[in-house]
Amino acid sequence: MLEVYLPILVLILCAIALALGSTVFSFLVGQKKPSAIKLAPYECGMPLVGTARQRFPVKFYIIAMLFILFDIEAVFLYPWAVVFKQLGWFGFIEMGVFIAILLVGYIYVWKKGALEWE
């Protein structure tokens, strides 16, 4: 049962080996002449203005929330899609209701302007 995941495990190990290996190797062979200017964050050569650790627009947060919610709904659609043909009308109507409810939320979000990016 679980053995089908064994190859993936191995593959992951390979990928890690590749990523890690190349990083470490470049770190070893690459030259090192650090200087304060070189290590400063790059702002198009201008002197630094403030810090980057600051609050970013709440917009992104809202997008993230919407993603979580809608993605969860998508999760419901997958198993349904697989058995859809057997369910027939019944399944279709059930999912119709589901999507309708989803639409209520969608319209609400839309009208609230959560999807606007001035």
């Binding site: 058995v83 027939g88 009208k111």
Partner: protein, 486 residues
């Protein structure tokens, strides 16, 4: 697969979920109406949501004495559920009535507020009518999530935000326990259907001694006891009640509490009846603990909202006595008590709503001094509600206590009843103190800011009618409560 569809289709019975279905549809519709309305027109939503409650009420009425079952034993709209549904509807209705003026005063008249209350009510209905752990769990979550938002609704006020966050963290925490309990019981019995759990456990009594079953029962109860605010899971109650918007506090103290009671009663009696000895002895202790803590700490409160919060903890303790009695009288007593409590507590909070100022809707006792002379009518109303909370005849509270405690006494829990009585004696002190401030103390303060708005006044009047009716002629409702026991 085909026959699966067949059974599924046979099991669909929309009559069984009609009330909550109608309510949630109305709520969604209102949500949309709200976004299409121009800003500040939210009062319309308020009245519309009241209409939605009325419509739902009619559907509930149709279900009385006409039990419907459906969805493969996931839902049972029996009298038990219907009785509780009415309790929720009343709670929601009263709090919505007092909300309009409140939100206007707080200058935070946002329309989502009302649909959220409707969603909460729908969730409560699912809890009351759910006969499968899934339905009950979903109901609980619909209720909780909406309440988290409502508790923190006044987001421009720090106490409200803090209350919301606190309620959320602890609520989610307790949900974890609830789920783990369900999982364990599911593991033992192989089903999440309450009735089937009961059948399985009675079929193989060996499982009753299985530690997993007992652990599951404990964790499961924890989840609900948290919502009921039973000590030692009551820590959130005072803070959240104080911080939340007053109408929401009022609703919280009645609706969700009743819902949790409904679910707990169903699960314990139908599902885990085999473990009765265990849970009665557990709840015996918790009931005593709860009412004692609630009453004793309430004595030291100077903030009225907070005092009522602790008093609601104590009342949860009284109601638990009914479950401990585990007989018909006790159980139906809880139904009656919850209804009575809804009236008296929401009434009291409605008075607080009117008496509050913008931004500081939680009064202190001193702030209440002389209220009886400046606002006699409100004060009289408050007095009635307080006497009812004390359990003085001829008010609803007295009959409710009598009902529940007689159940306990009939089951032989004399000492529990005595302790409960002594507790209500303790409670006399802090209720009386409110009246002391209202009537026996003078103050220069003329409560000029108190403006009678229609909604709140109506809710107060309704509450008074309810309290007196349930107190003087409780026969009819008691009959209903009796016939509502499964």
């Amino acid at each position: 697969m085909e026959n699966l569809v067949q059974t599924a289709m046979q099991n669909v019975n929309f009559a069984a979920i009609m009330p909550s279905l109608v309510l949630s549809c109305c709520a969604m519709a209102l949500l949309l109406v709200n976004v299409f309305l121009p800003r500040g027109k939210s009062s319309l939503i308020c009245w519309l949501s009241l209409g939605a409650l009325v419509i739902t009420g009619f559907f509930c009425l149709g279900a009385w004495n006409d039990p419907r079952f459906g969805f493969a034993g996931h839902v049972a709209l029996d009298n038990f559920a219907t009785f509780f549904n009415f309790t929720f509807l009343i709670a929601a209705g009263l709090s919505i009535l007092m909300s309009d003026g409140f939100l206007k005063r707080e200058e935070f008249n946002v329309g989502e507020y009302y649909p959220l209350i409707l969603f909460t009510t729908a969730g409560a209905m699912w809890m009351a009518s759910g006969t499968d752990m899934m339905t009950i769990f979903l109901g609980l979550e619909v209720l909780s999530v909406s309440l988290y938002i409502l508790a923190g609704f006044l987001r421009n006020r720090v106490d409200s935000s803090e209350a919301g966050l606190k309620y959320f963290l602890l609520g989610a925490f307790s949900t974890g326990f609830l789920l783990y309990g369900i999982a364990l019981i599911y593991g033992v019995t192989g089903t999440t259907n309450v009735a089937d759990i009961g059948i399985y456990l009675s079929a193989n009594p060996a499982e009753l001694s299985n530690p997993l079953t007992v652990a599951g029962m404990l964790l499961l109860s924890t989840g609900f006891l948290f919502k009921i605010a039973v000590a030692p899971f009551h820590m959130w109650t005072p803070d959240v009640y104080q911080g939340a918007p007053t109408p929401i506090t009022a609703f919280m103290s009645a609706g969700p509490k009743a819902a949790a009671f409904a679910a707990l009663m169903r699960i314990l009696t139908l599902g885990l009846g085999g473990l009765q000895d265990e849970w009665t002895s557990l709840l015996w202790i918790l009931a005593v603990l709860t009412m004692t803590i609630g009453n004793v700490i309430a004595i030291y409160q100077t903030n009225l909202k907070r005092m009522l919060a602790y008093s609601s903890i104590a009342h949860a303790g009284y109601a638990l006595v009914g479950i401990v009695a585990a007989n018909e009288i006790g159980m139906s007593g809880i139904l009656f008590y919850m209804l009575a409590y809804t009236f008296m507590n929401l009434g009291a909070f409605a008075v607080l709503v009117l008496a509050g100022k913008k931004g500081e809707d939680n009064l202190t006792l001193e702030g209440f001094a002389g209220f009886g002379y400046k606002k006699p009518l409100l004060a009289v109303a408050m007095t009635i509600f307080l006497f009812s909370l004390m359990g003085v005849p001829p008010m609803a509270g007295f009959v409710g206590k009598f009902y529940i405690f007689s159940g306990a006494i009939k089951a032989g829990y004399i000492w529990l009843a005595v302790i409960a009585m002594l507790n209500s004696a303790v409670s006399l002190y802090y209720y009386l103190r409110v009246m002391v401030y209202m009537y026996f103390k003078e103050s220069g303060e003329d409560f000029g800011w108190v403006t009678m708005n229609v909604g709140a006044v109506v809710s107060i009047v309704l509450a008074i009618i309810g309290v007196l009716y349930l107190g003087i002629l409780p026969g009819g409702i008691m009959e209903m409560a009796k016939s509502a026991i499964f």
